[in-house]
């Protein structure tokens, strides 16, 4: 083989490698039945959670969860229900983070996935909702 041919083959291999790298970096697998089911469950619960975010009773925590922030505006009779909503949401979120890490063949990414989501939930939260920043609750 001529050196030029070898060089071209080498270049092609390198480019293929770079393309593969870009592809691997491009997307995480999130289209699995388990993730779809969790999304569906969370989407349905959001109808009940949205007014609680708006009133400030529930806030978007920094750790990728939601948290009971100020129950004083919630009638006593409904506090148990709000607690149950928060607990159910956080259970779904934990399962979601675990599933995304697992679906991508890296269960050890779970904490990183949670951290990324924690930042994105806060970033995407609506104006007026309470979010946790630097350990304090602030109203967006």
């Amino acid at each position: 083989m001529k050196p030029m041919t070898i060089f071209r083959a080498w270049l092609a291999t390198l480019l293929l490698g770079v393309a593969g790298l870009a592809l691997a970096q491009g997307n995480l697998e999130i289209d699995t039945p388990a993730i779809a089911a969790l999304k569906q469950s969370m989407q349905q619960r959001h109808a009940q959670l949205a007014p609680l975010y708006a009133s400030g009773a529930v806030g978007i925590a920094a750790d990728g969860n939601v948290a009971l922030r100020d129950a004083s505006g919630v009638p006593l009779a409904q506090r148990g229900q709000v607690n149950a909503l928060v607990a159910a949401e956080n259970a779904d979120r934990a399962a979601l983070y675990r599933e995304i890490a697992r679906a991508n063949g890296h269960p050890e990414w779970e904490a990183d996935v949670r951290k990324t989501f924690g930042e994105r939930w806060i970033e995407r939260a609506q104006a007026g909702w309470w979010v946790q920043r630097g350990g304090n609750w602030v109203r967006k």
Binding site: K2, A24, I30, W109, T116, E119
Partner: protein
Amino acid sequence: MTAFLRLAMLGAVLASAGACVTINIYFPAAAAEKAADRIIDDVWQLREGATPGAQPDPEGGAK
């Protein structure tokens, strides 16, 4: 083509192939952000720029 050059090129190919395998060990932060945003769009129904709780467009609503 000297044997040395051939060996050097083989080394370079193996090194770049190795880099591709290694890279996936690290958490792909940018891809994770994109994935998170897609899921948040779905869960909070943020697609089409609609804000939950906002008055739905009467003409765009279901009939």
